[in-house]
């Protein structure tokens, strides 16, 4: 157990524990019944089937954006554009859900694919800029988030908005476009199956196919990949396309699975959360499932806590910040690993 091979796992566990400890500290300062409150935070999400359902529902968009970000990060591309694409794809899927008619099988398929394809194409723009002219993908993707939000909101307000409604909400989706609930008693929808399939596909793609190999090598050392004969320009564009496809799919599935109209007047935040999921998953596609569930779990816990106790849900943003800072802290607990290494190298004792 306590050897260097398990180090990363132990470290992740330690970070989670520390974060929960901080959560407990914050709660004790604010709450009049800290023990009860933390109890709600920790156990309420699994107390009833419907709460478990809430956790799973929330993890679905996180899986999509998480997987999308994993692919990008793994290619060493610091692109945080999943956020804008998630939003914009939801707008696209909504228009298909509103303005086109089809049967209950094809309608969601067409709407989700439309969102995903548009997402892929939009994502390709910073990809091409990066691959061909080395335009910093971080800056361009952040800019794209704001651009896509502005344009998406414009489309929502001018082409999709229900004139009967007071706020920015679209017309109702046609019922045929909405995703089916697959677990009775919850709102877990068929998007979960798609998400799990995508994660599995992502895993096999990354570790078993030559395209995944190209992706990993480009990420590990672009120059090396280039010299080995890998067309890294193509790889970077391909990864952006796939990542955009996934993020777009996530946005489309979220809106068709969880809403009956589009009402987002601000970016929903799942793209940035995707970076957090990717971090927790250590950039491994398969671990995205656990990471997304974990994040959804603590958020639902925080919501329940806000509802049932005297601590507001915004507390969770502190916990999330701590988790991000510590999880990606390479040197955190490294001294301990070094000691183990010296031991294993036989220098000590």
């Amino acid at each position: 157990m306590f050897n260097t091979r398990n180090f990363e796992k132990i470290r992740t566990l330690a970070v989670v524990l520390i974060s929960l400890l901080i959560a407990f500290l914050v709660i004790s300062i604010i709450s009049e019944h800290p023990l009860k409150t933390i109890g709600i935070f920790l156990f309420e999400p699994i107390r009833t089937v419907s709460h478990i359902g809430n956790v799973v529902e929330m993890s679905i968009p996180l899986m999509f954006t998480g997987l999308s970000v994993v692919l990008l990060f793994r290619t060493n591309l610091f692109n945080l554009g999943a956020e804008g694409i998630f939003y914009f794809a939801a707008v696209v899927a909504s228009s298909v859900a509103i303005h086109f008619a089809a049967n209950a099988f094809f309608h969601p398929v067409v709407a989700v694919l439309a969102g995903a394809v548009v997402g892929a194409l939009l994502s390709a723009i910073p990809g091409i800029l990066k691959a061909k002219w080395n335009v910093n993908e971080l800056v361009s993707s952040l800019m794209f988030n704001s651009i896509l939000f502005g344009v998406g909101l414009y489309l929502l307000n001018y082409y999709l908005r229900d004139p009967q409604s007071f706020s920015n909400s679209s017309y109702k989706f046609r019922p045929s476009a909405m995703l089916d609930v697959i677990v009775p008693g919850t709102r877990i929808h068929s998007g979960l199956i798609v998400a799990l399939l995508c994660v599995a596909a992502g895993h096999y793609f990354m570790y078993r196919t030559k395209w995944g190999y190209e992706l990993r090598m480009t990420g590990a050392n672009r120059e090396f990949a280039e010299f080995s004969g890998i067309n890294t320009t193509k790889v970077i564009i391909m990864v952006h396309l796939i990542a955009g496809f996934l993020a777009g799919m996530g946005g489309s599935i979220e809106v068709l699975g969880m809403y009956n109209r589009l009402q987002w007047a601000s970016l929903p935040g799942y793209g940035m959360d995707g970076a957090l999921v990717a971090l927790l998953a250590k950039n491994n596609p398969a671990s995205v499932i656990g990471a997304a569930l974990f994040l959804a779990y603590i958020r639902i816990g925080a919501d329940q806590m806000a509802r049932m106790s005297d601590v507001p849900a915004e507390m969770i943003s502190i916990i999330q910040a701590v988790i991000i800072l510590l999880i990606s802290a390479e040197q955190f607990l490294k001294f301990w690993k070094n000691r183990m290494l010296l031991k294993e190298a036989g220098v000590r004792e």
Binding site: H51, Q164, P312
Partner: protein, 357 residues
Amino acid sequence: GSNGGEASSGSSPSAGNSASASNSGALKVVLLIPGTLGDKSFFDAANAGLTKVKQELGAETKVIEMGTDQTKWEPTFNDVAGQDWDVIISGGSQITELLNATAEQHPDKTFINYDTDIQETAANVHAYSYATNEVSFLTGAVAALTSTSGMPNANPDKLIGFVGGMDIPGINAFLVGYIEGAKYAVPDIKVAISYAGDFANPGKGKELSLLQYNSGADLIFNVAGGTGLGVFEAAKEKKRYAIGVDSDQAAMMTGTDADKASLIVTSAIKKIDEVILSAVTKVKDGSLEMGKLEVVGIKENGVGLAENSIYSNVVPEDIRAKVEEIKTKLTSGEIKVDNAMGMDTAQIDEIRNSVKP
């Protein structure tokens, strides 16, 4: 008004737990906020209404903030409907479908939707809609009369302003009433109109207002949520007037910034607190008619101007008398105000162009 902190601690933390069954007689009323408290507007007003319900009717109450992530609303509704509350209150167009759907699944409970524009209403729901056009008609009259008055910060230009959050029907409902009221009071009045495109950017609200004030407007009607806070900032900087919206926005500042508050001559209020109190009172004596959307206007005391001390001190007697007169005409139906809900863009443009400076 009261604040969220009181609301949360005022209700027992265990109230959410259905196991802790209630002491017999008291009515159990829960309010679900589709957002968070502290907006100094609908949500705080609803919360104030609930506080009145608790104080005046002796009901057991609880407020739940559901946050802005809409995916969390449905599970909250289901949780709450499954508990032993007698009356479940929520409001807003965005929540209406969900509220109706939940009500249908729980026919034994009474639901109140305190603010919606949607006609459909489930059999055990009583819904309210506010005649914002009527109250805006009054603010328009106040604004136009102010602009042409000899009030210290008014100028001779016949120009007033309007800053909206977004160019959407809900905001334009205010605008149309405002314009019609202004024209009714001063036929050749001009109205400068801006939309911020954002409900949470007070900086932008301030810039837009400064432009309007600089071009000669001496009063701006703010219908822009958080962005509107910037309108008051501009009013203070330029020493011009403003009118608040949704709740008495002068009242929330008198304690902290009296100068600024004294420039907010009045506010167009949705009397959500009154409406909630009266609805729950009617539930108690069994007189609330269910399955109905009730439009509450000036006549029903669902909307009105904030007639606070600033209004009576700052606005001259003759203007107030004129406003009273209009109010009577609105109540009697002598004046009918157009409603922007359901108008198309061309119609609204026509109205906007009629007062273009």
